[in-house]
């Protein structure tokens, strides 16, 4: 795949370039700030971009805003956003626009090389990916009150996987259930939480995210 990297820390930028190179991807450009990122993506039109949220000059959310802008410009522009910390607010902003071809990962996830690369490929393929840690924190934040408490442990597990952006078949593979059972669980979950049923995996993530964060 052709990839653009936006990361202000030289060490990490270097590391990512090496990592991706070793796995057969081509880094067309590696930039240090949001403006260069915008220019690079517009010029090279990569298959996917990896963007650090915090970049100069203010080191708050430059990367995030650039990502949202680029996706608004060209729907389907695949961007995987990196963050050192879990910021559920950022996740919501990112997913609020066009669903699909977008991901939000913690930087720690890079340590699990295969997980990271899978997430990258999924985003490039048009899926929505949310870091499991983000999902876990969201679960923890809502507490045990409300309809969430009515879900069975199995249903909570599947809800978590849905929130990560997995498709039904992926969930089935991970939980060793049949596709039919997964579908039944999903319907049951949506029913219990009062969410409108949604076939589209990408829309599901946003719905679940909104629900968990409310």
């Amino acid at each position: 795949m052709r990839i653009v990297i936006a990361e202000d820390s030289a060490i990490l930028r270097q590391g990512l370039v090496e990592l991706l190179g070793l796995r057969g991807h081509q880094v067309v450009e590696a930039v240090k700030n949001a403006d260069d990122l915008r220019a690079a993506v517009r010029e090279h039109r990569p298959d996917v971009s990896i963007v650090d949220i915090r970049m100069p000059p203010t080191h708050t959310d430059e990367g995030l805003r650039a990502a949202i802008e680029l996706r608004a410009e060209r729907p389907g522009c695949a961007i995987l956003v990196f963050s050192q910390y879990v910021e559920t607010n950022y996740a919501k902003q990112l997913l609020a626009g066009e669903a699909g071809a977008v991901g939000y990962l913690l930087k720690d996830r890079v340590a699990e090389v295969s997980d990271f690369l899978t997430a990258l490929e999924r985003v490039a393929a048009g899926e929505t990916v949310l870091d499991p840690e983000v999902v876990r924190q969201l679960f923890a934040a809502t507490g045990h009150a409300g309809p969430l408490a009515e879900l069975t442990p199995r249903e909570r597990e599947i809800l978590g996987l849905m929130a990560q952006g997995r498709s039904n078949s992926a969930i089935a593979a991970e939980t060793f259930l049949s596709a039919g059972s997964v579908e039944k669980y999903v319907t049951s979950i949506f029913g219990k939480l009062g969410l409108p049923p949604s076939d589209e995996d990408n829309r599901r993530v946003l719905a679940v995210l909104r629900y968990l964060d409310s």
Binding site: S9, I11, L12, Q14, G15, K107, D108, A111, V113, S114
Partner: protein
């Protein structure tokens, strides 16, 4: 503490109006009493001056004045909602003469006298004006009713020439009265604004006010400093140690995958592990530097050890001499340490390279002196390094002095008061 002109001419609430009205009444009545007492005391005291008794009477008068000032201050707190700090006690020293001088020269007492004298005319005017206005308002407002109660030939009220031949006319008076009553709270509010000004000017100890302003400023500086420092630590951690560790985790992750593969490329693995090792060592360096920037471990052993360690590890050619009769509190040690560090850096950059660092305590102050024989010409420029050091000394009531003639030597001294 400059009072702004009442932003709204209107008082804040009904309660405030009540408080202000009560204030006008009470102080209006109190003013003549106070002034009479003061005058009597002064006359008596002056008359008896050849005898010691005269002085005592004068002192008594001043204390009474101070007391009245205190009463007004407390009343202002309750009724006007204006909390004012009490003045400090008159600084008394032993000895009859000193006592007399202190008591008679008590600035706060004389300020109270001035306040009471000024208040007398002001208070009486306020009392009568607001009373008259209020009474007029009430009388006019209730005129339609009283008109009906008066006989057929005398419709006029004995006050304010309120008179009308017809009942309809009385309604006009009523409207006017209503208007006056509506405006009355604002009237009272504006009056008390003048009073608040007077109170703030005269009843508050100016030294206290100065001190409070100084403390507010330096506290703001200290808080900003602390916040800035925390931000810097977070950034250093994020960009330094954290980045190294993530890179290290990446490389080890790759190495793991490689080792789990069918055909292991050992050269690849070696390169990855080497690189990960380098990341780990660099992370340690970053963390150590950061820790030293927050609180150097050597400081726990005292300024002497800390400064010598700093000089040798940073490569400053500095002679450190610390002579302290007792250990200063840790907060002062930290301030002196970081100030010395910055001054030593300056000396090594602009000075002749060598410098002497002296720390000693005498007369209840902690003194840091840094001397170098460089080119001189250093001065405290706003926004410069020396100004920054001076700023950081201020919250501890410290001062920085610089003597740096062209050609040297440059002597920078930081003086901090020691508590207790």
């Amino acid at each position: 503490m400059n009072p702004a002109f009442p932003r709204a001419l209107w008082p804040a609430s009904g309660r405030q109006t009540l408080g202000e009205a009560l204030w006008i009444v009470v102080t209006g009545l109190l003013a003549p009493v106070a002034v009479v007492l003061l005058l009597a005391g002064t006359v008596l005291g002056l008359a008896l001056t050849p005898v010691l008794l005269g002085f005592l009477v004068l002192v008594g008068m001043l204390r009474v004045a101070r007391g009245f000032g205190g009463v007004h201050r407390r009343l202002a707190g309750r009724l006007l909602g204006l909390p004012l700090p009490p003045p400090g006690p008159a600084g008394l020293e032993p000895g009859l003469w000193n006592w007399l001088v202190a008591r008679l020269g008590d600035r706060m007492a004389w300020r109270s006298v001035a306040y009471l004298l000024l208040r007398l005319p002001l208070g009486l005017i306020m009392l009568f004006a607001s009373g008259a206005l209020g009474f007029f308002g009430l009388a006019s407002f209730s005129y339609p009713i009283t008109w009906l109660m008066r006989g057929p030939y005398h419709h006029g009220l004995p006050v304010y020439n309120i008179d009308s031949q017809s009942w309809a006319g009385s309604l006009v008076w009523c409207a006017g009265g209503a208007l006056v009553l509506l405006v009355w709270p604002a009237f009272v509010h504006v009056f008390t604004w003048a009073d608040r000004l007077l109170l703030r000017a005269l009843v508050v100890d100016p030294q206290l006010r100065e001190r409070v302003r100084f403390l507010e400023e330096t506290r703001a500086t200290a808080l900003d400093d602390a916040a800035e420092q925390l931000r810097r630590i977070e950034r250093d951690l994020h960009d330094g140690a954290q980045a190294q560790l993530v890179a290290m985790a990446m490389k080890l992750g790759l190495a793991k995958e490689e080792l789990a593969a069918g055909e292991i490329d050992l050269d690849q693995v070696r390169a990855l592990v080497d690189a990960a090792h380098a990341n780990a060592k660099q992370a340690l360096v970053e963390l150590r530097d950061l820790a030293r920037g927050i609180h150097p471990a050597a400081l726990d052993k005292g300024l002497s050890t800390a400064l010598s360690t700093l000089a040798s590890s940073a490569g400053f050619a500095a002679t450190v001499s610390v002579e302290l009769s007792r250990r200063p509190p840790p907060s002062l040690e930290t301030i002196v340490y970081f100030a010395a560090a910055e001054l030593m850096t300056n000396a090594s950059k602009h000075g002749a390279g060598r410098c002497a660092v002296l720390v000693d305590d005498r007369e209840e102050t902690l003194q840091l002196t840094v001397i170098d024989h460089g080119a001189g010409g250093a001065e405290i420029v706003p926004g410069g390094g020396l100004a920054g050091i001076a700023e950081r000394l201020r919250p501890a009531d410290g001062e920085l002095t610089v003597s740096s003639p062209r050609g040297g030597p440059t002597v920078v001294a930081a003086v901090l008061p020691l508590p207790g």
